[in-house]
Amino acid sequence: MFNEVLHTIPQVLIDGLTLGAVYAVIAIGYTMVYGILELINFAHGEIFMSGAFIGTAILLVLTGIGWVSSLPAIVMLIAVLLITAVLTGFLGMGIERVAYRPLRNAPRLIPLITAIGISFLLQDIVRFIAELKKGNYIVTGPSLFTHQLSIKASSVSSIFNDATIKTSFVIVLVTAVIMMIGLDLFVNRTKWGMAMRAVAQDRETASLMTINVNKVISITFFIGSALGGATGVLFAVQYGTIDPYIGFILGLKAFTAAVLGGIGNIRGAMFGGLLLGLLEMFASANLTLLSHGIFGAEYKDVFAFIILILVLLFKPEGLFGKPVTEKV
């Protein structure tokens, strides 16, 4: 049985890292907003979903006027990613301005429930528009990358099976990694990134440093939402078919990843995302085998949320968080 598990490792690694990278980038959005406002922005999953729809819509329009076939796919993808990122960035910023800022000093439960309300609102707006334009809210976009690559893992060691990857997986993984590195550099090396960390640590004192706190919060929402929206495009490119409800489960998983890494900690969220993706893919590939057929691959979601519960029970500060000492 051990050997059979080993056979699957190359494929689990590739699929898990790709899925994990998607979780990681979305988890960053949760963790950034939490770090700065102590708000779990449940609408973030819907920002991701909106990104998937905006990207697909752009691709469909461009296909209609014949651009998709005439330009290299990678150029198309970059253009669509950028446009979508900017649009969802402004969407996230606008949501903060309209829905969260007026509640800045309200008890924490109130903005949390508002965030859930925004989720439903976005789901229904997207569903409405999709139905209006396509007559169906389940939308399939054009596929940009259809090549298959085969990795001859068996030539490294006969224990491993060969793994296959679609080119789109590689694109997703590479793009997500670039986004994460870019964000990490921004937060740790730039002046505004430093201001963001200062605001997260002590908002009042940051304002005494001539930092416009509202501006920093807007930037935080813009960046988190732009990354989330761009990841939505990647998701659409990878899986092809999307609906207005994909943000819910994926958002919850990304939230789990953020908690796993220690909510508020950006690098923790990246690590938590990758780890969760790997664990989930491992479970999906091997649960049947390991449980002698009692549990099937469909239990992988249960597996992810068991992790959430375990983390909350035994290490609520996450893998990289510090235990919180109550301020006196």
Binding site: M194, R197, S207, T210
Partner: protein
């Protein structure tokens, strides 16, 4: 330089300041003394814009700054070192100092100011890469003042700089406050340590439950019987 006229401030339903008049002239050291909860910190917060002013006006160099947000008043040259130092615990010492110079674009100016901070607080120089939160109370106070100096303020407002520090460190801090004043920085100092504050102050105000109870020059207050009994005993 700074005039507070009949300033009233509320926290929720509680009135923290009940019409305060305070004036600070250029080049002075002015101190606000009073017991816990008298409204000393609230006065500073009202000036810097951290709390909203309900009534009255605050003028700084002729401009009305009442209810200007903190990030704007600080741009005018008012630096506020808050109570409890409030350095950024997970930023390094260097990053803390850089935050003080957030509005400064020129790298050269930032470097010059940092050298000036090291002149007053040589200890900070060897600690640049250390996280702020790992330093001792005295070092954190030095960092907090250093961070404020990075703004090159005209008016430096210090809230309880001696709080929780060993007497020898308090001595050093007051020494430096005096030195900064000699360099031309106007100081507004809030202290519970009234004796020490009045010793270096040109003038002082005694605040009690949100009202100015007494005012006078440092020497007058230090020899005033009421002050002696209430705050210097």
């Amino acid at each position: 330089m700074l005039q507070l006229n009949n300033v009233e401030t509320f926290y929720g339903g509680i009135q923290a300041l009940k019409g305060i008049d305070v004036a600070v002239e250029k080049g002075e050291i002015v101190t606000l003394i009073g017991s816990n909860g008298a409204g000393k910190s609230t006065t500073l917060k009202s000036i810097s814009g951290l709390t909203k002013v309900k009534a009255g006006t605050i003028f700084y160099n002729g401009t009305d700054i009442s209810n200007k947000p903190a990030h704007e008043t600080t741009l005018l040259g008012i630096a506020h070192v808050p109570e409890g130092r409030r350095i950024f615990p997970r930023l390094t010492v260097k990053e803390n100092l850089l935050m003080g110079a957030f509005s400064v674009k020129s790298k050269q100016v930032i470097e010059e100011r940092m050298q000036q901070v090291f002149h007053y607080f040589p200890k900070l120089k060897g600690r640049l890469e250390q996280k702020g939160g790992t330093m001792s109370g005295g070092e954190q106070q030095m960092l907090a003042i250093g961070r404020a100096l990075m703004m090159k303020p005209d008016l430096l407002m210090l809230d309880e700089p001696s709080m929780g520090l060993a007497p020898i460190i308090v001595e050093q801090i007051f020494e430096i406050i005096k030195e900064l004043n000699d360099e031309g920085i106007t100081i507004l100092l809030v202290e519970q340590n009234a004796y020490q504050a009045l010793q270096i102050a040109d003038r002082g105000y005694v605040i009690q439950t949100g009202e100015i109870k007494l005012k006078g020059n440092g020497h007058e207050l230090i020899t005033n019987d009421e002050v002696r009994e209430a705050y210097l005993a």
